[in-house]
């Protein structure tokens, strides 16, 4: 057993909000034992500011929470202001800050995903069941999407996810090993190299290919940012290359958009295809360092990728750059590119104002190429097979391949690699084995929580960038959630709004206040269309980042496309 910091041995601080407090001596009050414990945990790791979140993880993992004494000790050890550490620790959902006088959480935490796909699969009932069954020794909490929507409902016991969860399975999980272990890569380094992997990278590093050539191919292929924004990749590379060196690269693996699990799929399936893409991009923009930010919900991938990247480095395949793994800590907003950069720098994930754009002033103030995992995954194939191969796919004048994360009421949910421009109906019929028995297709989410809701009558629209915007929707990360006649549309919109309320960073007024207010109004009584519409319009026009701007999309879609639903009372699952 590790010695826990007991709450009793810490003197109470001045003032508990009741006015005058007992004054204490000036300066940082650092508990020497806590300081020693923090030093042991940190070992020889650098005490740099940008590693704050990593260091907080060490303490959280080891002690199960962040005690006030440990936070103070960490601040002293890293030479940071206490309040800075405190700000960061309280921002992320996976950190449990335990103040003086508070009781630490139980050793086991079960996180039950209550985002849409899981809610449709009975997350609420599971929550109640688990709270009854597991008792006081286990903390059962709600959590946002864990990226396993095709296996809903999902729970995480400690760090281990349980697919198709029920009370039985979770109880077993609680009794078993709650620590994550490295996943087995779908294709390991040897296998990947055997089928020609890393040859392209070698050629590039050896000067057999030029950067312009690679950019050209990617440009012609029309590869776009697949994290959701769809920015043309070749153009982005050119933009970043125009900025003065040193340039940095950041890889966005914070796949948090509810309904999205494609990055996870590809990372597990063929990690080296992604790693090669990452190293190619770093070579193209001449980035001496790459920061790979992976969400905390995928610990088995993080462990695996850490190993695989080490193997790649050992094989001499990354002489041109240094790869830093960074671990998220439970914040959807960190999937926003500038918020992710803040998080990599060890700060709260508050989106930045643009301009300046990340390509100009990004990570540590340097011009930064930021790319989504899947975008990089396709680079090798596109270059090797040629732009024509990629553009040969597609329907309705769209070109290329898209990975749809499909979940909800279909027979065979999962990641579906389909031609760009495919419609939702085709996706269901051709790729997902049709609707589940007893369910009639009623509506769908084209792009996760923020992409809006469209009725089945509009299911023949091509699903691609720049198409659904005219309907107040977008395809984003291509997370398609299929809804049926058993799903109440108002409940769906409320579920999504609550997600945004929980995940709003709180920086700007429209999003902070709007998401909370909208959720409250949507949960109570009949929906006041004028009022909610006004709320939505302020959020859309005045929020700093995409979260606040897109948060009202599902709400406004209900008014636009499902007017008959407004008359019904709010449903549940």
């Amino acid at each position: 057993m590790n010695p826990r910091i007991t709450i009793e041995n810490i003197p109470p601080g001045p003032g508990r909000g009741r006015g005058r407090g007992k004054p204490k001596p000036k300066g940082r009050q650092v508990d020497l034992r806590a300081l020693e414990e923090v030093r042991v945990l940190l070992g020889g790791r650098p005490r740099r500011r940008d590693l704050l979140i990593e260091h907080l993880h060490l303490i959280q993992d080891h002690y199960g929470h962040l005690s006030a004494a440990h936070l103070a000790a960490l601040a002293a050890e890293m030479r940071l202001a206490l309040v800075e550490v405190y700000e960061v620790a309280t921002f992320y959902a996976h950190f449990d800050v335990v103040k003086e006088g508070e009781v630490p959480p139980p050793a086991v935490t079960v996180r039950v995903c209550d985002s849409l796909s899981c809610a449709m699969a009975g997350a609420e009932k599971l929550l109640t069941d688990l709270q009854e069954k597991l008792g006081a020794d286990v903390r059962v909490v709600r959590a946002p999407c864990m990226g396993a929507c095709h296996q809903a409902p999902v729970c995480a016991v400690g760090h281990v996810q349980i697919a198709h969860a029920n009370a039985e399975k979770v109880s077993q999980g609680v009794a078993g090993d709650r620590h994550a272990h490295a996943a087995t890569p779908g294709r390991d380094l040897a296998a990947y190299r055997l089928e020609g992997g890393y040859a392209l990278l070698r050629d590039c590093l050896d000067g057999k290919r030029t950067r312009e050539e690679i950019i050209g191919i990617v440009d012609v292929a029309g590869l776009r940012g697949l994290g959701g924004a769809g920015f043309p990749t070749g153009r982005k590379w050119n933009l970043v290359r125009k900025e003065p060196a040193p340039r940095l690269m950041a890889v966005n693996g914070d796949e948090g958009e509810p309904g999205t699990f494609k990055d996870r799929h590809y990372l597990g399936l063929d990690p080296h295809r992604f790693i090669e893409g990452m190293l190619l991009a770093a070579w193209v923009v001449e980035a001496p360092a790459v920061y790979f930010y992976l969400r905390d919900e995928y610990p088995e991938l993080r462990l695996m990728l850490t190993d695989e990247i080490a193997k790649v480095v050992a094989a001499g395949l990354a002489p041109h750059t240094q790869i830093h793994m960074r671990r998220g800590a439970g914040a959807y907003i960190c999937g926003e590119e500038s918020a992710m950069i803040e998080s990599i720098e060890g700060k709260r994930g508050l989106p930045r104002h643009r301009p300046p754009y990340v390509a100009q002033v990004g990570l540590f103030g340097r011009p930064t190429l930021e790319q989504n995992v899947e975008t990089l995954f396709w680079v090798r194939d596109i270059v090797e097979k040629g732009a024509d191969w990629f553009t040969s796919h597609g329907r309705r004048e769209r070109k290329g391949l898209r990975s749809f994360s499909v979940s909800g009421r279909v027979k065979d949910p999962g990641v579906k690699l389909a031609p760009a421009g495919i419609s939702a109906r085709e996706l269901i019929e051709e790729y997902c084995g049709g609707m589940q028995d007893g369910h009639t297709f009623k509506a769908y989410l084209p792009g996760g929580a923020s992409g809006g809701i469209l009725p089945a009558s509009m299911a023949d629209e091509p699903l691609d960038f720049g198409t659904l915007e005219k309907y107040g929707c977008f395809v984003g990360s291509h997370a398609v959630v299929i809804l049926s006649d058993k799903d109440d549309i108002k409940a769906v919109a409320l579920n999504l709004m609550r997600f945004f309320e929980d995940e709003s960073c709180g920086q700007c007024t429209p999003c902070r206040v709007g998401t909370e207010k909208a959720a409250k109004l949507m949960a109570s009584g009949p929906w006041d269309e004028k009022l909610l519409d006004d709320l939505a319009s302020v959020m859309r026009t005045a929020s700093i980042c995409g979260l606040g701007q897109a948060a009202p999309n599902p709400l406004t879609c209900v008014f636009k496309y499902f007017p008959e639903e407004l008359k019904k009372p709010l449903g549940t699952w």
Binding site: V83, H353, G506, V513, E516, A542
Partner: protein, 691 residues
């Protein structure tokens, strides 16, 4: 310069301007909560939205640079509209959002009447709320004895966090949690320790952070407002004294970019209660070892008896730290007429002396000029405690980068990093040669900041000479730049030195005068920082029952700085005029008038019957004092003169000149608030609360 069209009006502004600044330059008013000229840009309140032609949505003008605007069609300049229906709607929307969770407790809110939210709600909001749900409830936080919190009112603009982090340099406030749960607090609700913390009260655009000592005391519209000058240190911060009737209710900062920008220290702001208590409001005469109330005639008669009996050389006077130029001039005049050369304004024994010229005792680079310096060495000073706003200026300069700072003296927290070069005078001599010396020599405008910790000691003159020599050696004194700065701590000091309130030939210094048996009669003009040993007959002219009054044989009640018009010269040599905001209590009178009346009784009538006449006489003697708000620059040659004095300092390390920031003068020592701050700073609990 970049061209821009704002509301149809074409203007030219620097490219680095934000749209907000550009709009203001064009005369358009832009509402804002989070934006503040002297803080970093947060862009979070979204109140300052404007329409930018070509942008799909309104943009936050505070966070959008003029250079980021795309030109309009046909090469027309970018166009900004601040009054379109789109802007009006956006502002109304944001305003409504801000009020969704803001309590309607304006009748009991101390911000009422001077609240940005109230004002902007009037100007840009709608007339009613459409939301009837419960508002967000946030627990109030304890963040110290000076700032009261009402966190329900907070609109999360983070001005306070940015001020404490950026300007004060003591990052103790933060925004914890996220989303609607975001709250402003100190780490685990400890008291803030910054000596500038109360400025967050002024910065808070709502009533979330209000002044704790001023809680429920007055409404802004019932207060008389007098613009004046602070005397708590030698910075001479611009203040506004708010009074109700004859009572000072509060003190606020005024903007003076040359001096305090728009900040004041907590001491400047919160000594208000010290102006009311411990006041001397009638003359006292000591009889049989005890002080008794007396009439002015009795008091004057008692003085006259002693003074007339004494030999002139057995008379002396010490000028205190809070005296204005007028009374110093009158006192010096009187002493001269009485035939004594013993007068001194340096209670602390400082080596500052007018014989070397003005440049030898002022901050020559000026306070604003610190921002032009490119290297700094601090010698025996703790600017944070001695001149908080000079320290804030140094920090501001440091934040802009490339500013090496060295310190010789006590290792103290100055809110910016520095290289510690030694503890005492020896290090001063070596400073020019070391590694840091090279950095100083490389600098184009290096600065030497010499404090009282180095000059107010027996070998002070030798230390000052060494520091002056250092300034010469590193090239701090040259054409267009005089980087030598002697930091003064007393508001009266530079003015008194300008007027020559130092011992003449054969006269005694303050320290000598206070020695037992040195004099027969000693006048203390508010001099409370010096212990006068037994022997002399002491006449104390001052405001508070402090050390001087306790020692006195006759007490003549004077006027505090808020109760008289007076000229003060700050540490950079800037002449400033304090204005009368209230009247002295009881029988107390303005100090110059007391001296004038006394001179008559002593048979050496001072030749001025009015303040105007006095000032005329004073301006004849020191013409630069007539030039209010200006600095009479010192001659660069003065530094050479100071350096040439030579001498061998001893080896004792420099000690702090200010032992307790909150208790440096009689007004502060009378203040319960200051006592509480002092106790909190020392970490000792107080028995009584001053709330």
């Amino acid at each position: 310069m970049t061209k821009l069209i704002v509301d149809g009006k074409e203007i030219e502004v620097p490219a680095e301007y934000t749209l907000l600044q550009a709009c203001e330059a064009a005369g358009a008013e832009i509402p804002r909560f989070c934006f503040h000229e002297r803080l970093s840009i947060a862009g979070n309140c979204r109140m300052c939205l404007v329409e930018l032609k070509g942008a799909p949505k309104p943009v936050a003008s505070c966070a959008w640079g003029v250079r980021d605007c795309r030109p309009g069609p046909n090469g027309k300049p970018p166009e900004v509209i601040t009054r379109s229906p789109m802007v009006k709607k956006a502002r109304e929307g944001v305003m409504e959002f801000l009020l969704i969770n803001h309590p309607l407790d304006c009748p009991i809110c101390d911000q009422g009447g001077e609240c940005d939210l109230q004002d902007q709600s009037m100007a840009y909001g709608t007339d009613s709320s459409r939301f009837s749900e419960n508002k967000r409830a946030v627990e109030d936080k304890y963040i110290g004895v000076l700032v009261k919190t009402s966190m329900n009112r907070c609109i999360q603009c983070t001005r306070c966090v940015r001020f404490i982090t950026e300007v004060a340099g003591v990052p103790e406030l933060g925004a914890i949690g996220r989303g609607e749960d975001m709250e402003i607090t100190t780490y685990l609700e400890g008291a803030m320790t910054s000596e500038l913390q109360s400025n967050v009260v002024d910065l808070c655009p709502v009533g979330a952070l209000t002044s704790r000592p001023y809680a429920f005391v007055a409404r802004p519209w019932e207060l008389g407002k007098t613009e004046s000058i602070d005397v708590m240190d030698a910075v001479g911060s611009a203040i506004r004294v708010d009074t109700r009737g004859r009572e000072v209710m509060r003190i606020l900062p005024r903007v003076n970019d040359a001096v305090n920008e728009e900040w004041i220290s907590d001491k400047t702001r919160h000594i208000v209660d010290g102006l009311r208590v411990q006041r001397l409001d009638v003359p006292y005469v000591r009889e049989g070892g005890r002080l008794r109330e007396a009439s002015w005639q009795e008091a004057f008669a008692a003085i006259a008896a002693k003074v007339k009996a004494a030999k002139p050389e057995r008379l002396g006077a010490i000028v205190g730290d809070l005296a204005a130029c007028e009374e110093i001039f009158a006192l010096k005049d009187l002493m001269a007429r009485l035939g004594t050369k013993s007068i001194d304004c340096r209670q602390d024994g400082s080596a500052a002396h007018p014989k070397n010229g003005r440049a030898s005792y002022i901050v020559n680079p000026t306070i604003a000029g610190i921002e032009q310096a490119d290297a700094l060495i601090i010698v025996g000073a703790n600017p944070r405690m001695e001149a908080s706003l000079v320290n804030a200026r140094i920090r501001k300069r440091w934040r802009s980068g490339n500013f090496p700072i060295g310190l010789i003296g006590e290792r103290v927290d100055l809110t910016y990093p520095y290289q510690h070069l030694g503890a005492g005078p020896e290090s001063v001599a070596q400073a020019a040669s070391g590694e840091f010396g090279e950095a100083l020599k490389k600098a184009e405008r290096p600065m030497v900041l010499l404090g009282a910790g180095a000059t107010a000691r027996p070998d002070g003159a030798a230390v000052a000479a060494a520091a002056a020599k250092l300034a010469q050696d590193i090239g701090a004194v040259k054409d267009g730049w005089n980087g030598f700065a002697m930091l003064q701590n007393a508001a009266s000091r530079v003015g008194a030195l300008d007027l020559g309130a130092v011992p003449g030939e054969g006269g005694l210094t303050a320290g000598d005068m206070a020695t037992a048996g040195a004099l027969d009669a000693l006048f203390l003009l508010g001099a409370d920082e010096i212990a006068v040993e037994p022997g002399a007959f002491v006449v104390y002219i001052g405001t508070h029952g402090d050390r001087g009054a306790h020692r006195a044989d006759v007490i003549l009640p004077g006027a505090a700085y808020t109760e008289k018009s007076g000229i003060f010269v700050n540490t950079e040599g800037r002449v400033q005029m304090a204005a009368r905001a209230a009247f002295p209590p009881g029988d107390a009178r303005e100090d110059w008038a007391i001296l004038r009346a006394l001179s008559d009784v002593l048979g050496h009538k001072l030749p001025y019957d009015s303040m105007t006449a006095l000032r005329h006489a004073m301006f004849d003697a020191a013409p630069h004092l007539a030039r209010v708000d200006q600095i009479e620059a010192g001659a660069p040659g003065d530094i050479a003169k100071l350096a040439s004095a030579g001498g061998t300092p001893d080896k004792a390390p420099f000690a702090a000149a200010v032992a307790d920031f909150y208790l440096t003068n009689p007004i502060a020592r009378a203040s319960a608030i200051m006592a509480e701050c002092s106790a909190l700073a020392r970490g000792t609990p107080m028995a009584t609360a001053a709330e």
